[in-house]
């Protein structure tokens, strides 16, 4: 399941529906990314720009790769775009597998690829205006550990 959306979603309800959709899984892992405002550097919102057609294609490709590589029973990705306030859920990855290691590895792999290979761009809204979030070299390194 791949969903790219401007609308809020309920991560707990998504996880429950995902879990209930398969009977053979013994392990589920979810990752949820949350808009964060640090006291020492507060933001009022996170604005996510997206290229939706490309996002759906790339997320589907990443998902298929993870399914095969880790033998997952299922994998799901939900990613929002638009303006989100602190505490809101940005995105979610879910994996179902027979055992825990595949579920953990699959979710971590999806996150590492998604961070650097899915066409979303974050902008932070602060009292001083908007600023683009810079890509992190550590995200490239995290992705490359799977190669």
């Amino acid at each position: 399941m791949i969903r790219v959306t401007a609308d809020p979603f309920d991560p707990g309800a998504e996880a429950n529906a995902f879990q209930a959709s398969h009977v053979e899984a013994g392990a589920m892992v979810t990752f949820t990314g949350i808009v964060r405002s640090r006291p020492d550097d507060p933001i009022t919102a996170l604005i996510l720009e997206c290229y939706p057609a490309l996002a759906e294609n790339e997320l589907a490709a990443i998902r298929n790769t993870a399914m095969v590589r880790f033998g997952l029973i299922d994998a799901g990705i939900i990613h929002r775009h638009g303006r989100l306030v602190p505490g809101e859920t940005i995105m979610m990855v879910m994996t179902l597998a027979p055992h825990r290691q595949a579920a953990f590895d699959g979710a971590a792999f999806l996150m590492d690829y998604l961070k650097t290979g899915a066409p979303f761009w974050k902008q932070e809204e602060t009292a001083a205006g908007l600023r683009w979030v810079e890509a992190k070299q550590e995200d490239d390194a995290a992705r490359d550990r799977w190669q």
């Binding site: 990314g33 996510l48 720009e49 290229y51 057609a53 490309l54 996002a55 294609n57 790339e58 990613h79 940005i90 995105m91 996150m111 998604l114 961070k115 650097t116 290979g117 899915a118 066409p119 979303f120 761009w121 974050k122 902008q123 683009w132 979030v133 810079e134 890509a135």
Partner: protein, 83 residues
């Protein structure tokens, strides 16, 4: 054909897309980027470090040396920061 710009590249150019008709010697996506840069100082400047950009052809990320023929939509993608 259409060329799309995203995020800070879109901001620097003050537009999200161009409709272009590249000459016949523009054969690959890399050729297209070189040709676009030769037409536009702002784009040329914004892409001074070209290695950081990815390119897509009809909504699929592809290598820079991918042929352009038949493409309807090419996008120039600054480093992504999703997740």
């Amino acid at each position: 054909m259409k060329v799309l710009y995203f995020a800070w590249l879109r901001e620097r150019l003050n537009r999200a897309s161009d409709e272009v008709s590249p000459p016949p010697d523009v054969r690959t996506l890399a050729d297209l980027v070189a040709w676009l840069r030769s037409q536009d100082d702002a784009l040329d400047h914004a892409m001074a470090n070209p290695a950081i950009f990815k390119l897509s052809r009809d909504a699929r990320i592809v290598p820079w040396d991918t042929p352009l023929a038949g493409a309807r939509e090419v996008a120039i993608l600054p480093p992504m920061t999703g997740g």
